[in-house]
Structure formats: C-alpha cells, structure tokens
Subunit: 250 residues, 2 copies
Amino acid sequence: MVKSGQQLALLELLHSSELFSHLNNKALEPILRQAHRIRCEKNRFIKIYCDESQYCHIIEQGEIMLSRVTNDGDSYVIDVIDRGCIFGITTILEDSLYSQVLATTIKPTIIWRISLNIIRNLMKQEDDFTENLLHLELHTRLLQDLEIEHRTILNAPQRIACFLLVHCPAVNQSPVTVSIPYNKKLIAAKLGIRQETFSRALQIIKHATGTEVIGSKLKIKDINKLKSYVCHNCSLQYPCQHNHDGARIY
Amino acid sequence: MVKSGQQLALLELLHSSELFSHLNNKALEPILRQAHRIRCEKNRFIKIYCDESQYCHIIEQGEIMLSRVTNDGDSYVIDVIDRGCIFGITTILEDSLYSQVLATTIKPTIIWRISLNIIRNLMKQEDDFTENLLHLELHTRLLQDLEIEHRTILNAPQRIACFLLVHCPAVNQSPVTVSIPYNKKLIAAKLGIRQETFSRALQIIKHATGTEVIGSKLKIKDINKLKSYVCHNCSLQYPCQHNHDGARIY
DNA sequence: CGACGTATTGACTCGGCTCAAAACCTGTGG
DNA sequence: CCACAGGTTTTGAGCCGAGTCAATACGTCG
C-alpha cells in the first residue's frame, strides 16, 4: 500500500499512541485505509457518542475540550485533551448513557475519525488488543476515581497546586518553571472551580509556597513545599510520581 | 467434581454475577477448586489491593464499605456494596495506584477470595471473558463519571433525591415506598456530605416534593415531582431509568 | 490607538461544615 | 416492665470557602 504524507503522519501518530503502538503496520492497515482526516477551526463542535456516530477519534494536533450538557442546557468541562488522545471509544460495547458528551475545539485542530467497526475487528483479530484496551480503560478509571477524591477532599488552592505538580516538567528538582497550558478560565473549569476563585487561589499558593506567577509561566521555588502543601491530603502513595495525567481514553 | 453445599452456593453466586454468568460449569471449575471462603464479623478490615494480595473477592452475603485512606490518615467512603459485587479485580493488569483502598464489613459478611491468576487464565482461555470484563469496567467508569458530575453540579438535597430514585423499587408509579439501605451516616458519607447536612437536606426534599419520612422507610407521594426536582440538572437522558446503580466492579 | 477577550479585585451571599446539645432508638439487665 | 447505656439522628448557632455580580486592569491583535 502506497501511503500519502497524511497517512504517514497518521501512522506515526498511531505508533506513538498507547492503544495502537504494539500493533504492526499490517494490523494498522485497515485504519489507514478507512480513517478520515478532519480539520477544524477553533470553537467547532465535534459530534460524538450520538447514536449514529459509530466512530472514535484520535487527535493529530490541536486541543479539544470535552464537556457534558445537562438537560436544562447547562454544561461543565470534563477534560481538555491534545495530540495522541482518543475519544469516542468508550461506546465500543454500546452503552447509551454516554449520549451527552460534547467535544469542542479550542484551537485549530486536526483529528482522525476511525470507524468503531475497525476497532471491533482489532479486538477480535489481534491478540492482546482487547487486553490493552482494558488496561488503558482501567488506568483512566483510576484517574477518574482520583478526580472524585480530589473534588471531595481538596480545596481550591490544593487542587490547583496538584494541577501544577502534574504539569511540572521535572518532579524532583527545583526551582522549576511550569508553563500553564491553555487559559486560566479553562483550567479552572476543568478543576471544577470559577475563574475568580482560581485567581484568588493562585495568590494563596503564592504566599504559602513561594511560587511566582509571571504571565503564563509559573516559577516553583521549592517543589517540596508545594508537594507538602497538597499531597498529604491525597491517597496516592507519597511522593506520588505526579504522572496522573497519563493517557486517558474517553 | 463433587461439590459441597458451600461450593454450590458459590456456583449459584457466580451464575448470578454479570462477570461470570456466561461461563459454563467447566470454566468455573478452577474457581470452585481454589476460592477461599471467608466469614467476617462486623467492623473488620479486609486487605485488598496491597502488593502481596493477588486476589479479588466476591460477596456472598453481608455488606462492605469501600474507602480510601489519605496520607494524613483521613478517609472517605467510595461505595457500599453487597451480594454479588466484586472488588479487588481492577488490579488484574497491575496498577500500583490502587494501593490505598480499604474494605470494611458493616455487617457480618461472607466473601469468597479468588486468586487473580485464575481470572487471568479465564482472560486467556475463555472467549469473550476479557470483553465482558471490559464491558463491566466501562459501565462502572460511566457511573463514576456520573458521580463526578453529580458532585459538581447537584446540591445536597438533589444528590439525596437522586439516591432515593436509584433505590426506588418502581420507576414509574407513585406513591411508592423506599426502604433506606444501611444507615444515614453511611449514605451521607457515600454521597460526600455530612450527616447533619443529610438530615437537613431530607427536610428540604420533604417540603419541596411531599416525600414523607417514616423511620427508615420513605414514602414518595409523587415520583415525577421528585424526578423534576433533580433530573433536569443531570446530563443523562430524561427520564433516566434510574438504573445507575447496576453492577460495578472495584 | 482603540477594541475585545482575559484576568484580577472587591463586596456580598449562601451552602455546607463544625461543634455542641438535645432527642430519639434499640438492646440489655435488673 | 422499666431504667439505663450506647449509638444514631436531629436541631441550633456560628463560621468559612467558594460562588455571584460588578467594576477595573491587563494583553494582544487589528
């Protein structure tokens, strides 16, 4: 099979993804053949999880906000995901409860749309694929459970501190500079707090742990101070590796 | 294989469980041979998820509270589970993050301890077993996601109202009487609120929807009133089947 | 430079938590 | 059958964290 540049990009993307990386090119061929590349502007909605859509998606570049819409039209943010993330796959075994998820691009974005039937074939034909999917799913659930924990027992400054630690490039050395991904309103929404509260809570962290805010960068002077500010209230083994932002599937 | 009465009870239990029900007796034989029956008093701890314990458990009778313990010794309730529920199985593919879950009996309880290796063999040898496990896991995650939603956008009275609806024997007729399972302090803990708040919130529901509290029974005069009190704030399709308390695995 | 979106600050409200006391239940032994 | 002890549930008073609404400051892109 002769591949176009776009298909090669997809192949590379699949190889870097935790779900597909263990598959060889032959197994990936049906995906390359069928997958559909979609370019989106900022602020577009991508339909997923609705009855007709028997597809999952993988992000090549850009950023997508996943949210849920309630019956009275209110909405709340589930997560913000980027390159390599897969969404729409949790309907693979049919569960109607998932109908209300909304994906919104928050940057110009390129995604690939893959038929769920092709994924289902992989489950049947490729050894370990189902197990691998289960593994990813279990990992994601764990992170969701942690989310429940944090929303229950951490206050706003602690939740933000945890977010910063997760996004820290280095876990064990300080000072270290974290560049805040996407904007503060979105981060606040993901953490389930208002932007005003976010702003104030950042001040509290600053005073409590000596972390400096410089525009969209954040300088952590003493990472251990930040850890002790939040991690004792968490159930993860201390010190946790702060890797709880690994690959999730939706 | 000649089976004892206890083993027959286990067999029946497995047949009634969503995870094992599709397996025939031959496939279940290794479980019957190896599983270990454990009787516990009230208020005992059952070690799970710790490194040495390569087991999962299924409850034959009684009630168990699952909770997590934070690094500073605080704890919070994850769920309260009973007959047929499986816990300890989410470590099947190894994920160290799960180390801090605690199971506590809240009634005299009988559980069966099953080696995870036997489950792993089922994954290898029995068609559809892995897929079935994945299915259950996806369903459980969905319910966890719903939990996050409810903790984010429902207030205390609404959370309780939803709990009552879930435990309603009949979904579409009223008046109907709900008998409150386990005690109010525990329910409050499961919902992530204090018992005092629970008590007050119950009064609010009573006034808003005309629900009567009679000891540990609760008479819902108009179930639609109760539904409209809470469900419009939820993302599930309305009217939801209030079945979101189905089999979960932990 | 002006305009629009983003971020911060201030003043106020309110839901749920805390601590403490009272009321209610349930089982036990005299 | 009653008295008492232990646990559970309710009620009260006060506090505090986060939400709300509104005004101001900051950034950045035309």
